[in-house]
C-alpha cells in the first residue's frame, strides 16, 4: 500500500473527487488515503440523472451479474488485484483476511445466483415479463414499485454487500453509500458490475457524511440502511427504508437434545465472521442448568488466537485500540450482575502491529428475562441463560435468526408463528447459515416489487 488511496465518487458521468474529503487511516492511525464526501447537490443531480437513464433489459442484467461475479473474484479493479484488495480490507479496516475471503465468496455466490433468486422470490401467479404467453389468458406480472434503490452500507464485514445485488437483478438503479471505515468492497463491487455491463447511470457510488446520506435515502424510492439500534429507531417508521440493525440472533437448546454434541455449532454461531454479522448468535438459552454449556463455550472461544487481521489464520476483528477500549467499557456497563466466564477482565488485546483484537466474551445470566440477552456487540459476545417451557417464546422474540435445537413440533409451530423471529433454523444448523436464494430478511423482491394484473389481446409489438 505504498500508494496514497483516493476513494472518489463514481457518478453517472464518471469519477468525481470532492474538495471535502476525510482521511482513511490504518488501524495504527497512519493516514493511507482520503475518501471524497460529496455534497447533497451532487447527490440530487446524480439521482435525477439515474432516474432519466433507461433500465437495462432483464436478460442483460442477469448476464452482467454473472460476468460481475467473475470480475469481482478475479480481476484487478480500481487499481487493486483480488489479493491486494483482501489485504487492504484487513489491514485498513481490521476485518480478518479469512473473513474477507469468505465474504468475497459469498458475494460471488450471490451474484451468480440471481437468476434463481429472482425466480424463487416471484409469486407463483406472476410472470417476470409481460411478453410471456400467460398474459394472453390473464396473469399477474411482477413489476417494480420504484426505480432507485439506495444502500447505506456498513463496514463491519464485506458480506453486507451480498444483499443489494438482488435489487439490480430486479431492474432497480442502485446508489451505494459506502462505509467510511471500509469503502473498498463497495468500490470494488461497483467497478465489477460496471465493467460487466451496468451503465454508470444505473449504478453509482456516493461517499458522503451522515447528513448527506439522509439526502440519498430521501431522494431514492427505497433504501436499505445498516446500523445500530439508533439507526433502526430513526428509520423504522419509514416504510420505504429497510433497516438492517442488531440481529439479536439466538440459540435455544431444549432438554431433549444433548448440547455436548452441538457445542461446535454453537461456538461457530457466535464466532463466525469474527462475530461481526447480524446472524451471529448473541444469546444461548438452555433448558436446565446453562452453566456447563456456558463453560464449554467459553473454553472453545477462549482458544481462538489473537492475530493481526492480515494473518491467514486470523478470525477475530481488529480495531483501533481506543475504540476497543470503549467497547470493553460498554460491555462492563451492560454486563451488570451477569457472571463473566470469559472476557470479564478485559476483551482488549493490543497488537504490536497496531490496533487491538476484540477477544470473545461469555457471560452467564440467571433468568430468561435478563436484559443482557438482547445486547448484541460487534465481536463474539454471547450471553447464556436458563429457559424452561413455562417461559414460553417471549425470551426468543426479536431474533433475526433463531436456531432451535429441539424435537418438539408444537414449540417449532409456535416459533414459526412468532412475527419477530425472522428466520427459524432447526437442529444442527448454525445461526450463520446462509445460501443464495434463501431469504435473509425476506426477499428484497417482497418490498421492491408488486404484482399487476394483465390481460392482453393482439396489441403491442407483433413479435410478442
Amino acid at each position: 500500500m505504498a500508494e496514497f488511496l483516493h476513494i472518489d465518487a463514481l457518478g453517472p458521468t464518471g469519477p468525481y473527487r470532492s474538495r471535502n474529503r476525510r482521511p482513511l487511516t490504518s488501524l495504527a492511525g497512519t493516514p493511507i488515503g482520503e475518501i471524497s464526501q460529496v455534497p447533497s447537490l451532487y447527490v440530487r443531480r446524480t439521482i435525477a440523472a439515474m432516474r432519466a437513464a433507461p433500465v437495462l433489459a432483464g436478460a442483460q442484467r442477469l448476464d452482467a451479474l454473472d460476468a460481475a461475479a467473475e470480475l469481482f473474484a478475479t480481476a484487478p479493479l480500481g487499481g487493486l488485484g483480488p489479493d491486494e484488495y483482501v489485504r487492504l480490507v484487513s489491514t485498513a479496516s481490521g476485518v480478518p483476511r479469512a473473513v474477507v475471503r469468505q465474504s468475497v465468496d459469498w458475494i460471488v455466490d450471490v451474484l451468480r445466483s440471481q437468476r434463481t433468486t429472482v425466480e424463487l422470490a416471484m409469486p407463483r401467479g406472476a410472470v417476470g415479463d409481460w411478453r410471456d404467453e400467460r398474459t394472453r389468458a390473464g396473469s399477474a406480472v411482477w413489476a417494480r414499485r420504484g426505480e432507485v434503490f439506495a444502500v447505506h452500507a456498513a463496514g463491519n464485514t464485506p458480506a453486507v454487500h451480498g444483499l443489494w445485488p438482488e435489487a439490480l437483478a430486479l431492474g432497480y438503479k442502485v446508489v451505494v453509500r459506502p462505509s467510511t471505515r471500509e469503502p473498498y468492497t463497495a468500490l470494488r463491487l461497483v467497478e465489477a458490475l460496471r465493467q460487466a455491463g451496468f451503465p454508470p447511470a444505473t449504478l453509482t457510488l456516493l461517499p458522503t457524511d451522515h447528513d448527506v446520506a439522509d439526502v440519498i435515502i430521501a431522494e431514492a424510492d427505497y433504501a436499505i440502511v445498516y446500523g445500530g439500534q439508533d439507526v433502526v429507531d430513526k428509520y423504522s417508521a419509514i416504510p420505504t427504508v429497510l433497516t438492517q440493525g442488531p440481529g439479536r440472533s439466538k440459540i435455544l437448546v431444549t432438554a431433549d437434545v444433548d448440547w455436548r454434541e452441538k457445542i461446535d455449532i454453537i461456538a461457530d454461531s457466535v464466532s463466525h465472521l469474527g462475530g461481526t454479522a447480524c446472524t451471529c448468535a448473541s444469546a444461548v438459552l438452555v433448558e436446565g442448568d446453562p452453566e456447563p454449556l456456558a463453560r464449554a463455550l467459553a473454553e472453545r472461544l477462549g482458544r481462538i488466537p489473537s492475530l493481526p487481521a492480515d494473518h491467514p489464520d486470523a478470525t477475530l476483528t481488529v480495531a483501533p485500540t481506543a475504540s476497543v477500549v470503549e467497547v470493553d467499557q460498554y460491555l462492563h456497563k451492560v454486563a451488570g450482575d451477569a457472571r463473566p466466564l470469559l472476557g470479564g477482565d478485559t476483551i482488549v488485546d493490543e497488537l504490536p502491529s497496531g490496533g487491538a483484537v476484540l477477544r470473545p466474551a461469555v457471560h452467564l445470566v440467571d433468568s430468561s428475562g435478563a436484559a443482557q440477552l438482547g445486547v448484541e456487540l460487534p465481536f463474539p459476545c454471547v450471553w447464556v441463560g436458563p429457559w424452561q417451557s413455562a417461559d414460553g417464546i417471549a425470551p426468543l422474540r426479536d431474533s433475526l435468526v433463531l436456531t432451535a435445537m429441539t424435537t418438539r413440533a408444537e414449540l417449532i409451530d409456535a416459533l414459526l408463528d412468532e412475527p419477530s423471529i425472522i428466520n427459524l433454523y432447526l437442529g444442527d444448523n448454525p445461526t450463520t447459515w446462509l445460501r443464495p436464494g434463501i431469504p435473509h430478511d425476506g426477499y428484497l423482491g417482497e418490498v421492491l416489487m408488486r404484482t399487476k394484473g394483465m390481460i392482453r389481446t393482439a396489441v403491442g409489438p407483433a413479435a410478442a
Binding site: R19, I47, A48, G228, Q329
Partner: protein
C-alpha cells in the same frame, strides 16, 4: 451633535468600485460612535437606559474596536423592547426616514426586532453594487423569506435599482420549523417543493434577470432540468444568502449547473441590519470570502471556549458588530461558525469564509449492534 466621521459616504462610486469608500480612522470612529449613542441628546432611549446598568462608561472606556468586547450581548433584549426606543434621538431629516422593522430569529423563541433606516438600507444595498454594475435593466425573482425578514425587502430595492420589478413567493421559515418538529423532515420537503413550483411558474412566464435565493432552494431548482434550462436562458445573475454553500456545491453550480452565470453570495443577518459581500476573484480553496462594510459592520471570529479571537486561517464562532449612528449592536455572538480571513487593509475585525453550522464529527459512543 453628530461627528462627520459617522456620516455614510454620500456618493458611492456608481461603477461600484469596491475600494471607493473613504478610509476613516478606526479609533476616531469608535470614539465618535460612543459619544453619539451615549449622549442624552443623540442616543436612543434603549441605550441611554441600558448604559445605567453597564459596568463601564462607554464614552470613557470604549476607545478602540477591541474595547467593544466590554459590551454584553444585548440582542436578546430586542425581543421585548418597543421599537421606538431603538431610534437614536439625534437622527433627523433624511436620516430619520424608517424603511421598516425587520425581525431575526423566531424559529427558536420569540423574534428580535430591529429598525431599518432608509438611508442606511440604501448604503447597505450598495455594498455589493459592483457585482451588478454591468447588468442593466432586469427583473428580480426572490425565492426567499419575505414578511418581517430583511432578505425580501432588499430584493425589492435591488429590482428598483435595475428599473425592474420584484417577483416573489411566500416563504415562512418559522412555519417550516414547526412542520419539521411535528412531522419530521418530509414535511419540509413538501413545503420546499411547493415553493419551487411557484418559482417555476414565474420563471416560465416572466422575464427574470436576477435570481435571489438560498443554497438549499437553489439546489432543489438544480435537480429540475426544465428549471435549469430556463435559468440558463434568462437569468444573468444569481445571488445566494441565508445559508451555507460549501466549496464543492459552489463549484458544481458554477461549472455544471449554471455555467457563465455570476453566482455571488451575501453573508448577513438582520442583527447587523445588513450583509457582507463576496470578494471578487478566486476565493479560498473554492470558498466565497466575505468582506463586511467596515467600519459600519465588523466581524470577529472567536474561540467559543475563551471568547478570544482565533488566528487568521482558523475556525471559530462569528461575533458581529453593527456600528453606525443608526444603531449600535455590538459584540453579538452568532450561532454561525466560520474561518477567519485576512480583511482588506485598514478594515476593522476580519473577513470570513466557509460560514456554516458548527462542524460535528462522528462521536465514539458505543451503539449496540454489529454495524
Amino acid at each position: 451633535m453628530s461627528s462627520p466621521v459617522l456620516d455614510l459616504p454620500r456618493a458611492a462610486d456608481p461603477a461600484g468600485n469596491p475600494a471607493s469608500y473613504p478610509a476613516v480612522d478606526p479609533d476616531e470612529y469608535i470614539a465618535a460612535l460612543m459619544r453619539w449613542h451615549f449622549t442624552a441628546s443623540t442616543g436612543s432611549p434603549f441605550w441611554l437606559r441600558r448604559a445605567r446598568s453597564l459596568e463601564f462608561d462607554p464614552i470613557a472606556d470604549v476607545r478602540t474596536f477591541a474595547d467593544l468586547r466590554l459590551f454584553p450581548n444585548v440582542v436578546d433584549e430586542f425581543r421585548d423592547v418597543p421599537v421606538e426606543d431603538l431610534i437614536p434621538r439625534g437622527l433627523t431629516g433624511e436620516d430619520r426616514v424608517i424603511a421598516g422593522v425587520y425581525e431575526s430569529g423566531g424559529t427558536t423563541g420569540s423574534p428580535k426586532r430591529f429598525v431599518m433606516f432608509d438611508r442606511w438600507m440604501e448604503f447597505a444595498l450598495g455594498w455589493d453594487e459592483f457585482h451588478y454594475a454591468a447588468l442593466g435593466p432586469a427583473n428580480v425573482l426572490a425565492v426567499a423569506p419575505s414578511g418581517p425578514h430583511m432578505f425580501g425587502a432588499f430584493a425589492a430595492r435591488r429590482a428598483r435599482r435595475h428599473d425592474g420589478v420584484r417577483f416573489t413567493v411566500d416563504l415562512d421559515p418559522r412555519w417550516i420549523k414547526r412542520l419539521i418538529e411535528r412531522d419530521g423532515p418530509g414535511a419540509a420537503d413538501l413545503y420546499a417543493e411547493h415553493i419551487i413550483d411557484q418559482a417555476a411558474h414565474i420563471l416560465t412566464t416572466q422575464a427574470v434577470g436576477i435570481l435571489i435565493t438560498t443554497p438549499p432552494l437553489l439546489e432543489r431548482m438544480a435537480r429540475r432540468d426544465d428549471l435549469v434550462a430556463l435559468i440558463r436562458k434568462n437569468v444573468r445573475f444569481i445571488c445566494w444568502s441565508g445559508a451555507h454553500m460549501d466549496a464543492d456545491s459552489r463549484e458544481i453550480f458554477q461549472t455544471e449547473v449554471f455555467p457563465g452565470i455570476p453566482l455571488k453570495g451575501l453573508y448577513g443577518s438582520t442583527t447587523i441590519l445588513g450583509m457582507s459581500r463576496e470578494r471578487p476573484g478566486e476565493g479560498l480553496d473554492g470558498l466565497a470570502l466575505f468582506d463586511s462594510p467596515s467600519p459600519y459592520i465588523a466581524f470577529r471570529v472567536v474561540d467559543p471556549a475563551t471568547g478570544d479571537d482565533v488566528n487568521l486561517g482558523e475556525r471559530g464562532q462569528v461575533v458581529m458588530n453593527h456600528l453606525t449612528k443608526y444603531a449600535l449592536i455590538p459584540n453579538n455572538l452568532e450561532r454561525d461558525h466560520a474561518l477567519a480571513v485576512e480583511p482588506p487593509p485598514g478594515w476593522l475585525g476580519c473577513s470570513v469564509a466557509d460560514v456554516g453550522p458548527v462542524a460535528t464529527f462522528d462521536d465514539h459512543a458505543v451503539i449496540e449492534g454489529v454495524y
